[in-house]
């Protein structure tokens, strides 16, 4: 097991040269020791995972990295035995998550792992449909388990029925048990997440690679169009909004949906409308479970709330959909037509291949890509959205319980504790409930919470280097290439970005074609979505399918990170908007309000002023 071969001649700043921002040292120390940079980390290449963690991470939220990398690594290293790569190492500094791959370079080791891989991964490919059906069952069972976790109660006296039934275990024990089950479920969910993911991406990339060789000028989005499914779960929340818009028109209550009116006000007025209002609210309830379990981020931050928790996003989108429907636009996605188009594109490219031999190989590869893709597209809804919402909301319940006991002012403050610290606070509370003494945490946590919140705010003001350490000669780690779209070429772009400050062009992946000029809105977090106006160009670190409703407003999208199969790219294509993703630096280089041109076919953003 060795790391990627490196060259010392050219590189990014060393981890040891990156300092904790003054005044935030204690907040930095709150992250577990195994996430802290150490001296030997200078020998390795790291990159800032701004795709998943575009903002500084609260110490509790780091569990999303911890659980995910534990599961990703075990799938790669131990379960499927990917020949050339093990898992991902991660570190956190100033709230920023840096990651590095563990490549395998020893030929004997690769040979051994290859043999294992073919006994494991090939079995998954060969039995994909059965195992995926089983996966959905497992995942739904896990979701039901999380939903069934008990409410947190610490009554003054144990309920009499518990005593009479001889339960013998008091309520405080169940607080700890529920917490541990909550964490356990979350770690387990990530194992489900990675059970198929790398294999799915790999099969897709196999076809992608073939297409790029056979048709050197084919766009990434065309390959994506050949493979992408049309019934995938990620389209459903948006589809549900269209359905609700149509419902409102059919019921004659569409006038109630006006821009700028808060969701609660609209719901209030619908309730007063009697029958048609009630009918629409019933439809809303149907859509909400489960399709509003989509959060406004990528599932990595506690404050990326779901549509269910915050109806403002879906309700803000409804007036636009209603207006479009009235203009005569068809609201339902025409899946039959899209499917026929996909079939035609596949056949047309096939016809252009030079030999029957290549056509036969093409058939084999696209067949496999189609087989695996429903998982690649569908898993996010269940894992990063539905389950993750349940998880963070359960942690909120602990926050509420502790806040009530004076551990900190607000239930949301719970996310300023690491999951270890939270367990200690829970045990503190259990003890206090049991012995009648006041909890000790009320003295300890409020100051710490204040300090850590201030540190997050401070860290957010500072840019962080896109990568650290020596640049590898080649990047041969399929996981890094597939999941983060990081190639040797775009590292070079990052390295030279600083050398040409005058360049008015920013390059990225061509994600969805078309050329548009307009005003840039640099949106640094999901909370700022409201600032987007009609015809604006969205510039963000990373976009997400739950942002889909803003795509009806905007003219184009630009992101720092993401490949042609990122959800931003998929949604942009769905809406026919130009998009350039994976630019690395768009949010740093583009000023809010600046006029820019987005050429989504070429992957170029031009600053016009």
């Amino acid at each position: 097991m060795s790391t990627i071969a490196t060259t010392k001649t050219k590189g990014f700043p060393l981890p040891s040269s990156l300092k904790v921002i003054a005044g935030t040292e204690r907040a930095q120390a709150a992250y577990p020791y195994y996430m802290q940079f150490a001296k030997e980390d200078d020998e390795r290449f790291w990159f800032y995972n701004s795709m998943h963690f575009p903002e500084p991470m609260c110490v509790f939220d780091m569990i999303t990295a911890e659980a995910a990398y534990c599961a990703l690594g075990s799938a790669n290293t131990r379960v499927h035995s990917l020949p050339t790569t093990l898992g991902i190492d991660y570190r956190v500094l100033n709230g920023r998550v840096y990651i590095g791959g563990n490549g395998v370079t020893d030929p004997a080791e690769i040979a051994k792992r290859t043999q294992e891989f073919q006994r494991r991964a090939f079995y998954y490919y060969a039995n994909w449909e059965r195992l995926f059906a089983q996966w959905k069952e497992k995942m739904m069972a896990l979701i039901r388990e999380a939903e069934a976790l008990p409410k947190l109660e610490l009554p003054e006296f144990e309920p009499l029925e518990h005593v009479h039934s001889g339960r013998g275990i008091a309520s405080n024990h169940y607080i700890l048990e529920t917490y541990q089950k909550t964490l356990e479920g979350y770690f387990r969910m990530w194992h489900h997440h990675f059970e198929f993911l790398l294999l799915g991406y790999g099969a897709y990339l196999t076809f992608f690679d073939f297409c790029k060789k056979a048709f050197p000028e084919i766009s990434d989005q065309t390959v994506a169009r050949m493979v992408a499914g049309l019934e995938a779960e990620i389209f459903r929340p948006d589809d549900e909004l269209r359905r609700l818009a149509k419902c409102a028109i059919d019921l004659g209550i569409d006038g109630q949906f006006r821009e700028g009116v808060p969701a609660e006000k609209i719901i209030q007025s619908l309730k007063q409308l009697g029958e048609p209002g009630a009918a629409w609210l019933k439809e809303l309830a149907i859509s909400r479970d489960p399709w509003f379990n989509i959060n406004v981020g990528d599932g990595f931050y506690h404050y990326h709330r779901s549509w269910n928790d915050d109806l403002s996003m879906p309700f803000a989108a409804l007036p636009g959909y209603i207006a479009n429907a009235k203009k005569g636009e068809r609201l339902e996605r025409q899946t039959d037509k899209l499917m026929a188009e996909r079939k035609q594109i596949i056949a047309d490219y096939r016809e252009l291949l030079e030999t029957e031999e290549e056509r036969a190989a093409y058939d084999q590869m696209i067949e496999l890509a189609h087989r695996v893709f429903p998982y690649v597209e569908g898993h996010k809804f269940y894992c990063e959205h539905w389950y993750t919402n349940l998880f963070f909301n359960k942690i909120r319940e602990f926050g509420a319980l502790l806040a009530k006991q004076g551990f900190f002012p607000d239930a949301e403050d719970v996310f300023q504790l690491s999951h270890y610290e939270l367990e200690s606070a829970i045990i503190d509370l259990m003890t206090s409930w049991s012995n009648g003494s006041p909890p000790r945490g009320t003295e300890r946590w409020p100051a710490i919470v204040r300090e850590r919140k201030a540190a997050i705010a401070e860290w957010a003001k500072h840019e962080t280097p896109p990568a650290l350490g020596p640049v590898p000669d080649i990047i041969d780690d399929p996981a890094i290439v597939m999941l983060w779209g990081i190639t040797r070429e775009n590292l070079d772009t990052w390295l030279t970005a600083g050398e040409q400050p005058d360049s008015n062009e920013i390059r990225g992946f061509a994600a969805s074609s078309g050329v548009v000029e307009g005003v840039a809105r640099v949106v640094k977090s999901a909370e700022e979505i409201g600032r987007l106006g009609h015809g604006d160009i969205l510039v963000c670190q990373v976009t997400n399918p739950s942002w889909a409703p803003v795509f009806q407003k905007i003219a184009a999208a630009v992101s720092d990170i993401g490949g042609s199969m990122s959800h931003a790219a998929i949604v942009a294509r769905e809406y026919g908007l130009p998009a350039v993703v994976g630019t690395g630096t768009a949010t740093q280089k583009i000023k809010d309000g600046q006029r820019i041109r987005v050429d989504g076919g070429r992957g170029v953003v031009t600053l016009l002023e």
Binding site: T206, F210, I345, Y349
Partner: protein
């Protein structure tokens, strides 16, 4: 000589008639018959050339003199070329040829009108597909009037005896009896925009794109390289326009008032403006795709858009650079289709 032996209308000829109408004539007929918009016209078949030549041969041998030359005897080639070209351009046309061509001219142009015509050599040799030979013969654009047209026909015939053309044939030791010249006579497109397109990428050989190059005015400015054309790349299948390189098109070729081609500076506001709209790029792609489908292989096409905005193809020939390249198959079908994933998982080194 019956006129059908002298004249072949585009609608009646195709590539299989190449030996009597030449490569260019056959191609234009083929396109016309495939429903591709081509400016109307006809071919003066090789039989007319043979008839003219045999009349001249009676006075003094031609083909045997050419064949007697060595490919390196440049002085002799030059002298014979001058002599033969002068003979072909000055000798009277046999009456039946004269009247046959004039009748077709009138049918094409109408009784009292003299629209500008293109008179183009359409040579036939054993290897008629060889583009480099086709390029050695003359083309006369913007020819106006019946007499001028007849003169150009003879000049085309005579260009078969240009020094370069003779030298080329001698080097390849082509028998002169196999060399004949047909002449295309075709309505001229008063091009507002014109250029070339390839049904594959000239840079990467990618067959899934159509590369279009074009500029303002007549196509001669692009073909001769006098202007850097705009360059567009459009997906053959997807219709996505992935490249739009708009260049500074400082000059354009225009029809000169009295016939022929003139050059003019491009008006300032057009120099850096794209010469094609997206709709036109798409329409050109549709035609390119149709032509390629018709021939079953990648094509190299000359196109023009007239003043009314109608697209016309002037020429289509097989693309030769990439098509003749040997290439290892990108992938072969695997006994176990799963083996393909090892390309990704097995390491790229």
């Amino acid at each position: 000589m019956p006129s059908s032996e002298i004249i072949g209308w585009f609608a009646d000829i195709g590539l299989s008639d190449r030996l009597t109408v030449g490569g260019k004539g056959g191609s234009l007929g083929e396109l016309t018959r495939a429903g591709i918009p081509v400016p109307p016209g006809f071919v003066v078949r090789t039989a007319a050339f043979e008839r003219f030549l045999s009349a001249l041969e009676k006075d003094e041998p031609i083909r045997s003199k050419v064949e007697a030359l060595g490919s390196h005897e440049l002085d002799k080639i030059l002298a014979l070329s001058q002599h033969l070209r002068a003979r072909l351009e000055s000798a009277p046309l046999p009456d039946d040829l004269n009247s046959g061509i004039l009748a077709a001219y009138t049918e094409l142009c109408g009784r009292d009108s003299n629209p500008p015509l293109a008179v183009r050599s359409s040579a036939t040799t054993e290897d008629a597909a060889d583009a480099s030979f086709a390029g050695l013969q003359d083309t006369y654009l913007w020819t106006i009037g019946a007499q001028a047209t007849l003169r150009c026909v003879r000049s085309c015939w005579a260009s078969l005896y240009s020094a370069a053309s003779i030298a080329y044939r001698r080097k390849r030791e082509l028998p002169e009896s196999s060399v004949a010249m047909a002449v295309v006579i075709q309505a001229m497109v008063n091009a507002h925009r014109a250029g070339v397109m390839f049904t594959r990428s000239p840079l990467t050989g990618d067959r899934s794109v159509v590369t279009i190059e074009g500029a303002w005015g007549l196509g001669s400015a692009v073909v001769s390289g006098e202007v850097t054309p705009d360059r567009f790349v459009i997906g053959k299948i997807t219709g996505e326009i992935s490249v739009r390189e708009i260049s500074d098109k400082h000059v354009q070729h225009l029809a000169a008032p009295g016939g022929g081609v003139g050059e003019a500076e491009t008006p300032e506001e057009l120099r850096r403006a794209p010469c094609l709209s997206d709709a036109e790029i798409t329409a050109l792609r549709d035609i390119a795709r149709k032509v390629e489908r018709h021939y079953g292989r990648p094509q190299d096409i000359e196109w023009a858009i007239d003043q009314a905005g109608e697209i016309r193809l002037l020429q289509s020939r097989p693309e030769t650079v990439w098509s003749s390249k040997e290439r290892a198959p990108i992938a072969k079908p695997a006994e176990d289709p799963l083996q393909h994933v090892m390309k990704i998982f097995g390491g790229r080194r």
